[in-house]
């Protein structure tokens, strides 16, 4: 029998090892066989590179999502340009039936109505509900500002209890809170009767900070989310504090901070349908940010002016279909 080459002998031994068979003895074993088989045996436990990359990606996503819930620094929360008791970027809900929407927020999320400005016809021009340490704003939809389906991320003390209350208040289940969510939080999802999606989460552990998370985070599912980051940096002087991308560059999650308050974005796909949101954000200088946003590609909707409620206010549409209500607090008593 002709002597087999060392490469062939090695492969025969590997084949037997992988099939868990007793190897046939080689008539003329190469010395390399005895040297290399221990390496081959050790390689049976070689991890899948895809798994290593996917787990890393999961962990980064979780870190990114935890950053989203980290409170803004105390100094920026007390920033003079922000109306008192307004720590977050507020999702501004323009809905058909704002009074019923307020009732829903109060019942489902233990919200507290703190302001209601009615129109003469009884509809609501503007209202505010606090949930936890954050603010949600709303009004009745109109021709200029029609109803949109938005997504909001809530951090609550007990996701299961909040989820149950939301269903009782008329929400439709998407899925009940589970510990299996990639964020590492206990997380459930429900849709309210107005078509808005609510991510209801409770932190199981504290990675970044133990307490004081903002209860409300607007969550934007975008098309070409990767383009949002440079846009929003240029337009609003924003900062992406946690960007998690897939290997092919798709934004799986990012946390964006504007003037000390945050919101979250990702690429719309599957169950995370494209959202177009209304957002209310306080900035240090509405005029400057408005001009900067338009230069960066936003469309001016309402130029800056002094609003009767004491804000310097303006509105722009971004290229992703979201409307931004910009505001700078001028101080109590200043029209």
């Amino acid at each position: 029998m002709p002597k087999r080459s060392p490469a062939v002998q090695l492969d025969r031994a590997i084949e037997a090892m992988l099939a868990a068979l007793q190897p046939q003895p080689e008539p003329n074993p190469s010395p390399a066989l005895a040297q290399l088989m221990p390496i081959a045996r050790a390689l049976r436990d070689l991890p899948r590179p895809d798994f290593k990359a996917a787990l890393k990606s999961d962990l980064q996503r979780r870190i990114s999502m935890n950053e989203a819930a980290t409170p803004a620094p105390e100094s920026s929360k007390a920033a003079h340009f922000r109306r008192p008791n307004f720590p977050n970027i507020a999702p501004y809900f323009l809905v058909n039936g704002a009074p019923q929407f307020i009732d829903f927020l109060v019942s489902a999320f233990e919200g507290t109505e703190r302001m209601r400005v009615p129109r003469p016809d009884g509809s609501i021009m503007h209202a505010e509900v606090t949930i936890g340490n954050s603010v949600i704003e709303m009004g009745d939809a109109n021709e200029q500002y029609p109803q949109r389906s938005m997504t909001t991320h809530l951090y609550v003390p007990d996701a299961d209890a909040t989820y149950a209350r939301a269903l009782e208040a008329g929400a439709t289940p998407i899925y009940a809170p589970t510990d299996e969510h990639p964020s590492g939080d206990r997380w459930g999802e429900a849709k309210d009767p107005f078509g808005n999606t609510w991510y209801i989460a409770t932190r199981k552990s504290a990675v970044s900070a133990p307490e004081g998370f903002l209860t409300v985070q607007p969550y934007l599912h975008l098309r070409n989310a990767h383009d949002m980051i440079p846009f929003i940096e240029a337009a609003f002087g924003a900062r992406a504090t946690g960007v998690h991308k897939s290997p092919d560059g798709i934004v799986r999650h990012a946390t964006i901070e504007i003037a000390g308050a945050t919101f979250e974005i990702d690429e719309a796909s599957g169950e995370s349908q494209l959202t177009q949101s209304y957002l209310h954000v306080y900035v240090p200088d509405t005029d400057a940010v408005y001009a900067q946003a338009v230069r960066a590609g936003a469309t001016g909707v309402t130029p800056p002016s002094n609003a009767p409620y004491g804000d310097r206010a303006a509105a722009v549409d971004d290229p992703f279909g979201n409307t931004w209500f910009l505001a700078t607090y001028l101080g109590a008593g200043q029209p």
Binding site: A7, V8, L10, L36, P47
Partner: protein, 192 residues
């Protein structure tokens, strides 16, 4: 084979590792470095103690998620960070065994010692040896790396790999041989 390896991690590395842990505790974005340093160790530790790759992956995932979540509670007391990870891994193994027993209460798992989780202390030398070998695979020339992964991870036959890489079976065997030789030389050379 393991006896050839130099002794376990020399002391100076512990100071570096402590800095990595502190960096991750102050900013979890730095957890990546700890993950890169310990992924292979944790995976190998678990892989030797379970019967299939999917379970090893699930448990590895659980260990790192728990480590990240509880990093703030970790206190440096001189033991390697890996020891903390192995403790989490041992707990994950025990929990997984309990879950499996609950799901199949009528099986003879309890009577069969092979079905009990192996919670023995990790052998640091064997773990370091394998972790180092796994990382060296990443540095093989691309085609050798692909052959090794397809053969040992995907467990494809030489014929399948030859078809996928559009090479002869003889060429694939040669690539496999050269890759193992290269790994052996590097392992003996002590580079990592």
């Amino acid at each position: 084979m393991v006896a050839r390896r130099p002794a376990h991690k020399p002391a100076p590395q512990s100071a570096d590792e402590r800095l990595l842990v502190q960096a991750a505790q102050s900013d979890p974005a730095n957890f990546d470095a700890l993950y890169e340093l310990h992924f292979e160790r944790v995976y190998y530790f678990l892989s030797r103690r379970v019967h299939d790759r999917a379970t090893a992956e699930d448990l590895t995932s659980e260990v790192f998620h728990k480590a990240l979540a509880n990093l703030a509670t970790y206190e440096w007391r001189g033991a390697p960070f890996a020891a903390w990870l192995f403790r989490i891994a041992s707990n994950a193994l025990a929990d997984q065994h309990k879950r499996a027993s609950r799901e199949q209460p009528s099986s003879d798992n309890e009577q069969n010692p092979d079905h009990h989780p192996d919670l023995s202390s990790p052998d640091p030398e064997a773990i370091d040896y394998h972790a180092r070998l796994f990382r060296l695979v990443d540095h093989l020339p691309a085609v050798q790396r692909q052959v090794i992964r397809e053969r040992f991870v995907e467990q494809r036959s030489i014929r399948e790999i030859a078809g996928r890489l559009k090479k002869t079976e003889g060429a694939i065997k040669q690539l496999q041989f050269r890759a193992l030789q290269s790994l052996r030389e590097q392992m003996e050379g002590g580079h990592a």
